[in-house]
């Protein structure tokens, strides 16, 4: 069984500018993965298949990393005016400040490889997009492993990653005219919470919001219908 370090070394020996890095998994399972540079991904995948004999791609999945606000402490040097012995002097002072910045999110495609020939696996590698709004292109690995075809279509459908070089990139589960990507964290589902008999938690909140919205809509519509209609509107 090759470790990820060995695989990384093998890739770098064959393809010096592959740009492979190891993503450590701190959990007990310790299933570390490799992150490939999208530009070299097809060449590296071909090497993994042909030379390291990873002939079976079992799973492709997507991950959405939304934009995240990070608080970090920064040491800042700034001039401060002080009165020392009745004389005003400007002194440089170093202060610790907490600054917040938004770490841009990204989308990831995760591939799980096995080698049937060498009885080993899984080897996990990831491809990362630049951001999650407009530059969401990744190279398709369907030409390398045919089994990626439907799973890349599913990721395209549910996460919105565009796989360049895919032979037949269409939506898989949702219809063609559908605009959203349901597995993204910021997906807003349609407001069809009019009947939730056993609602709890998030669903309850959505159901209550829906009821409040429809009530205000009713009240807004009631005066327009005329004074005679108001009695029936109130009883509902």
């Amino acid at each position: 069984m090759m470790t990820v370090e060995e695989i990384k070394a093998a890739i770098e020996a064959a393809l010096p500018d592959a740009g492979v890095e190891i993503v450590c998994n701190p959990s007990v399972s310790g299933q570390h993965s490799l992150r490939l540079a999208p530009a070299q991904a097809v060449a590296v995948a071909k090497f993994l298949r042909d030379d390291l004999l990873f002939d079976y791609l079992s799973n492709v999945t997507g991950v959405d990393w939304p934009d995240k606000e990070v608080a970090e402490k920064v040491r800042v040097t700034r001039p401060v005016t002080k009165t020392v012995d009745g004389v005003e002097t400007t002194v440089e002072e170093t202060v610790e400040e907490t600054r917040k910045r938004v770490a841009p999110g990204c989308l990831e495609a995760v591939y799980h490889l096995y080698s049937v020939a060498q009885k080993q696996g899984p080897v996990v590698f990831r491809l990362k997009t630049v951001n999650r709004t407009d530059q969401v292109e990744l190279p398709s690995l369907t030409p390398i492993w045919r089994s990626a075809e439907f799973q890349e279509r599913e990721i395209f459908d549910l996460f919105g990653i565009v796989f360049t070089g895919h032979p037949d990139l269409r939506r898989l589960l949702m219809w063609d005219g559908f605009k959203d990507h349901p597995m993204r964290r910021d997906y807003v589902e349609p407001d069809d919470f009019e009947y939730e008999p056993t609602a709890h938690d998030q669903v309850l909140a959505r159901a209550l919001a829906h009821q409040a919205a429809s009530r205000t809509a009713q009240e807004a519509a009631a005066p327009a219908l005329g004074a005679g209609q108001e009695g029936t509107g109130a009883s509902q």
């Binding site: 589960l173 949702m174 219809w175 005219g177 559908f178 349901p182 589902e189 349609p190 069809d192 008999p197």
Partner: protein, 203 residues
């Protein structure tokens, strides 16, 4: 109308008295041909119901027709995804009157465990009129038989004239139900208000 006691008394004497309505409904309810289609795992239970152990042939419903033109009843057996819903409504529209619908299982009646999913319809009764709802995940074949007997009772109780008569005898009745169109975010419309209104939840 013949008095019920008199009818039984006459029957003992070998005289069989009935009404056109009774005879007509007896004929209708005794050979309901279901449509041959299944949507998910409930279909396995539906298939079991047709086989020798449960034997839906006892009720005259063993002839599953692959064409909606020849079917009287639609068993919505399984999850109706939003992508499948227009096809289900279209098939229902193609069935000849009188037609009946059994919504089988949690998914068909409400969306079931997938109710909050992005791709599952929250119950087929939002688009087509459902005669019998069966809860269960999946319902046992006995439950489907029970639903079938409930439907037979309903057909038996239908008067051929007046309010609530079967739709094929009502020239005013709605024949076609609008097929929802896949929109940008959801099916449009999200439900057919002529068929379904949100029930009032009492807490």
């Amino acid at each position: 109308m013949v008095d019920e006691g008199l009818k039984i008394e006459l029957g003992k004497q070998g005289v069989f008295v009935t009404t056109i309505e009774e005879l007509y409904n007896w004929g209708r309810r005794s050979s309901i041909w279901p449509m041959q289609f299944g949507l998910a795992c409930c279909a396995i239970e539906m298939i079991a119901t047709t086989m020798a152990r449960y034997d839906i042939a006892r009720f005259g419903a063993e002839v599953f027709r692959p064409s909606p033109r020849q079917a009287d009843m639609m068993i919505i057996s399984g999850t109706v995804t939003k992508r499948m819903a227009p096809q289900v409504v279209r098939l229902y529209n193609q069935m000849a009157e009188p037609k009946y619908v059994i919504a089988m299982g949690a998914c068909a009646i409400s969306g079931g465990p997938f109710k909050q999913g992005y791709n599952v319809l929250k119950g087929i009764d939002r688009y087509i009129p459902v005669d019998v709802h069966i809860p269960g995940c999946p319902p046992r074949p006995e439950a489907l038989l029970q639903a079938f007997m409930t439907l037979q009772k309903k057909i038996d109780g239908q008067h051929l004239t007046g309010e609530g008569r079967p739709r094929h005898l009502d020239a005013e009745a709605q024949g076609e139900f609008p097929v929802p169109v896949p929109g940008e975010h959801d099916l449009e419309p999200a439900s057919n208000p002529g068929v379904w209104t949100a029930p009032v939840v009492i807490r």
